[in-house]
């Protein structure tokens, strides 16, 4: 277990290093010039070059990357070009909001997706099954800003059940979480359905029924733990998809998280913030996968970590 964790941590560090290199290179190759954004349209060429020199952006790529990396290992993500404050501080101040939204979304998508999948599997071939699968397909295909605006219109504008935007209370959390969750919930519903159908065909389900267990007991105690195994691995991967959705949804709902931060940073070519948020997201994804792998043996005793 210790050896396994050690190896996984080394692997994770390599992944983060790779992500930092690729992102840094992409931003370097970007035709947009961050210095122009900082200096403003009226700046003289001398001022522009001066700023460029100050930021070290006149150095060759390798030197720039190396400098970024040496700061990074000391936990320093640099300063924002525009806001002039530490990127670490900016991210940390907004991270709780995003984590909260992420948690809300995961809870929503699991509750909605798994329930739909289980019901569809148990009533396989019925009208219920078919309508649930159509619904999941709609969920998967609908663009998130459309879903967000639709939910806003119905539940905030027309029904006034939830606030239109903002941050601070549980009722603020509901609509953004749902919006992020809709797409993944559709995926989970389809995956859970096929996983469940597969499990319900297994011999041990027949054994459980032959014992005289009630149908619900067979479903919850015998089928569910087996059917959920592939889903757990999925949750780890899903964190990446969630991050993408969160950037959009935070803008729609005015949610003060790192999604909004990076959204603004992209518009202004604020490279340190883009780098910082990308690395934090990559870290979250790596961590999510690691957690999913660590949790798996607790559900399936056949899995040994080594």
């Amino acid at each position: 277990m210790i050896a396994y964790l050690g190896r996984r941590l080394v692997q994770s560090a390599m992944i983060l290093l790779g992500v930092s290199l690729i992102t840094f290179a992409l931003l370097y190759l970007l035709p947009a010039d961050p210095v122009r954004q900082i200096a403003g349209r009226s700046a003289t060429p001398a001022t522009v070059e001066n700023i460029r020199h100050q930021l070290g952006l006149d150095q060759p790529f390798i030197i720039q990357y190396w400098r970024y990396l040496t700061h990074l290992v000391q936990g320093d993500l640099g300063r924002s070009y525009i806001q002039r404050s530490q990127v670490t501080e900016l991210i940390l101040s907004r991270l709780p909001a995003t984590l909260l939204l992420m948690l809300g979304s995961i809870v929503c998508e699991l509750i909605i997706g798994l329930t739909m999948g289980i019901v569809a599997a148990v009533r396989r071939g019925s009208a219920t099954d078919q309508s649930l699968m159509v619904a999941s397909f709609v969920g998967v295909s609908a663009p998130q800003f459309v879903v967000g605006l639709l939910l806003l219109y119905i539940f905030a504008v027309r029904l006034s059940w939830f606030p239109i935007g903002g941050y601070g209370s549980f009722s603020h959390l509901v609509l953004p979480s749902l919006t992020v969750a809709v797409m993944s919930a559709g995926w989970y519903a389809r995956m859970m359905r096929s996983s469940m159908i597969d499990v319900l065909r297994q011999d041990y389900i027949r054994t459980a029924r032959a014992k005289g267990l009630a149908r619900a007991t067979v479903l919850v105690r015998h089928a569910l733990p087996n059917a959920i195994l592939p889903i757990i691995a999925m949750i780890g991967i899903d964190i990446g998809i969630l991050m993408g959705g969160i950037v959009v949804v935070e803008s729609v709902f005015g949610w003060p998280g790192i999604g909004q931060l990076v959204w603004q940073a992209i518009q202004r070519v604020d490279i340190p913030i883009i780098m910082g948020v990308t690395l934090v997201s990559a870290f979250a994804i790596v961590l999510g996968n690691l957690l999913a792998d660590i949790v798996a043996p607790f559900i399936d005793p056949r899995i040994k970590l080594r």
Binding site: A3, G6, R7, G125, Q202, D203, Y204, R206, T207, A208, R209, A210, K211, G212, L213, A214, R215, T217, R221, H222, P225, N226, L229, I299, D300, P301, R302, R306
Partner: protein, 605 residues
């Protein structure tokens, strides 16, 4: 084995009342229908029988006879929504199970009628501990406290002779061997002392020595509790061993019913006679002419000191910590036109040996086919040698690509080795189809349009396509019904005489082995413990393990039923060992005429 103390017979007014009145279960006019693309089809029709208290009723039949559907309909566990009971009644304890509501049925399942299934490897839930699975069955049907239920679970495990019963409760199914898992299934079934135990092919997936123990266990449990048993099997040896009465089924109908003596000694129906005639029996392997001593003719396959080991890595740096010693120093020769049978129980290394010869796993030692050593050859030369070695596998359903036409499947080896034009290949495939007893017109069909026996003929045709010198048949007839099995074995023998092919025949079925082999090698834990001619092995087995294997085979004759079966005290040890902990090499000693026996504790006489 004092289990009855903990398992007091439940107060059961229904059964008590009906005890005097006759049979405990009465099936009348049962019909089961399955929904197919062309509407409903009856898979069981007009079936009526009675089960007496304390008797063992065997339902025997080949695949598709409806025997499993019958047992599932008694339990009302027919696969839904495809199958249903379409007519008839199942009377039990004053109720008709065919029409009983699900809730009342749940109270009967596992409690008064229990069932065990064929596949012990997949019949237990992999993510729940043995204890949990046992205890939940008890808690469902009794008001026992968790502690008492646990106690009863331990007693049930002791009753099925699982060592260290208490400790097993915490284990998970994958930590147990197949035989032990089937015992857990039986423990689960008997924990509530049911009136009826339905066993659907309970030993088919088990090794023959384990089969003997499980059958004996069922007999003992019946003796102690007076349970009525419905035993469903395709194996007439098991029927002869276990049955009081027998029902023979075919195509969903009862062919014949009678006591075990009637069925075996005076079968009234032709089908029963055919079924019995097709059963391979030990001790009457048809004489196959003189067997030359080893080394007198040049060998098609010469295997010398073959080792196959698999590394298991662990730790931070992924170092090799353990090794699976699958094959440890195996040597044998197979001359042209001769058959060497490799026998042994699961995990003994017989299939790995075959894979090494076919070039499917890396090995050390030497394997020479037709005089050319595989080890020293480059890629192309190796491919040429491959042409001489072909395999026929166990499962004819899984070994044919379902998306290819069978004609193309048979032609594929020729295509791979670049033999002939398209037209020539077509002609050769047609000829092969005729030779193995199929119509050349069937070449355009897909595998699913054939029966199991026909598919195995297709696999044989495919193996013959390259005119090989050696065919490796890995359990090639094990999945077939006995009547089909006999015909496929005959075909293999004919082909051998015609083409002079050498066979390496791998099987767990000693009766089949005696029928087809010239020489036999018995493997145990990756090594050969005894080898000799068929007559030496079956007529004068000199190693304890060989004797056990032969003794364990149920004889299809109720008059020769065995009393007590020598029990295996220990489980077969693992072939996975720590690095550096090499297994001890067995030394083979010649006891006369090339009959080699591992010297040491196992040797007798």
């Amino acid at each position: 084995m004092n289990v009855s103390a903990g398992m007091d017979v439940k107060a059961n007014p229904d059964v008590a009342a009906s005890a005097a009145a006759g049979p405990i279960l009465a099936v009348s006019n049962l019909a089961v229908s399955v929904r197919t693309d062309d509407g409903e089809r009856e898979v069981v029709s007009g079936l009526s029988f009675e089960l007496e208290r304390g008797e063992t009723l065997c339902i025997a039949g080949e695949s598709g006879s409806g025997k499993s559907m019958t047992s599932l309909s008694i339990m009302r566990l027919l696969p839904r929504p495809g199958a249903r009971i379409s007519a008839g009644a199942v009377h039990f304890g004053g109720k008709d199970l065919a029409t009983l509501d699900e809730r009342s049925m749940q109270a009967i399942r596992g409690n008064r009628i229990a069932m065990i299934f064929q596949e012990p490897m997949t019949s237990l839930n992999p993510v729940l501990s043995i204890g949990r699975q046992l205890i939940e069955a008890i808690e469902t049907h009794t008001d026992l406290s968790r502690r008492d239920a646990r106690q009863r679970a331990v007693e049930a495990l002791k009753a099925v002779r699982i060592p260290e019963a208490e400790a097993r409760l915490k284990q998970y199914p994958h930590e147990l061997s197949g035989g032990q898992r089937q015992r857990v299934m039986i423990a689960m079934a008997i924990a509530l002392a049911p009136d009826i135990l339905i066993a659907d092919e309970p030993t088919t997936a088990l090794d023959v020595t384990v089969q003997g123990e499980v059958l004996e266990l069922l007999r003992d449990l019946q003796r102690e509790h007076g349970t009525s048993i419905i035993l469903i099997t395709h194996d007439m040896g098991v029927v002869a061993e276990m049955a009081d009465r027998v029902i023979v089924m075919r195509n969903g109908r009862m062919v014949e019913e009678g006591t075990v003596e009637e069925i075996f000694h005076a079968p009234a129906q032709r089908y029963t006679r055919e079924l019995l005639a097709a059963v391979p029996k030990m001790g009457d392997g048809s004489a196959r002419g003189d067997v030359e001593p080893v080394g007198s003719i040049s060998a098609i396959a010469a295997v010398n000191d073959l080792h196959v080991r698999f590394d298991i890595t662990g730790g931070f740096l992924g170092r090799v910590t353990h090794r699976v010693h699958a094959v440890e120093g195996v040597s044998f020769n197979i001359p042209a036109s001769k058959t060497l049978a490799l026998v042994g129980e699961s995990g003994c290394g017989k299939s790995t040996t075959a894979k090494a010869i076919a070039g499917l796993v890396p090995f050390t030692g030497s394997i020479a086919v037709n005089g050319r050593d595989l080890a020293g050859l480059s890629g192309d030369a190796r491919k040429a040698v491959r042409r001489d070695v072909q395999m026929i596998f166990q499962d004819p359903y899984a070994s044919l690509d379902p998306r290819m036409r069978v004609g193309d499947l048979v032609a594929e080896p020729m295509l791979i080795h670049g033999i002939g034009s398209k037209a020539e290949r077509g002609e050769r495939v047609a000829a092969l189809f005729e030779r193995v007893g199929l119509e050349p017109g069937q070449m355009e069909l897909y595998p699913h349009e054939f029966s199991g026996g026909q598919r195995q003929r297709i696999c044989i045709a495919r193996a013959l396509a390259l005119r090989p010198k050696l065919i490796i048949a890995d359990e090639s007839v094990s999945a077939l019904d006995v009547s089909v099995q006999a015909k496929v074995l005959d075909l293999l023998k004919e082909l051998q005489e015609e083409f002079g092919i050498a066979y390496l025949f791998i099987s767990h079925d000693m009766a089949v082995v005696e029928n087809i082999s010239d020489r036999v090698a018995v493997m145990y834990l990756g090594q050969i413990v005894e080898t000799g001619t068929r007559d030496q092995i079956f007529g004068d087995p000199r190693h304890l393990y060989t004797r056990r294997l032969i003794e364990a085979v149920p004889v299809p004759d109720p008059a020769r039923r065995r009393g007590n079966f020598t029990r295996l005290v220990h489980e077969i040890p693992s072939v996975t060992r720590r690095v550096g902990d090499e297994p001890q090499k067995l030394r083979l000693e010649d006891v006369g005429d090339g009959h080699l026996v591992a010297a040491g504790t196992g040797m007798v006489g």
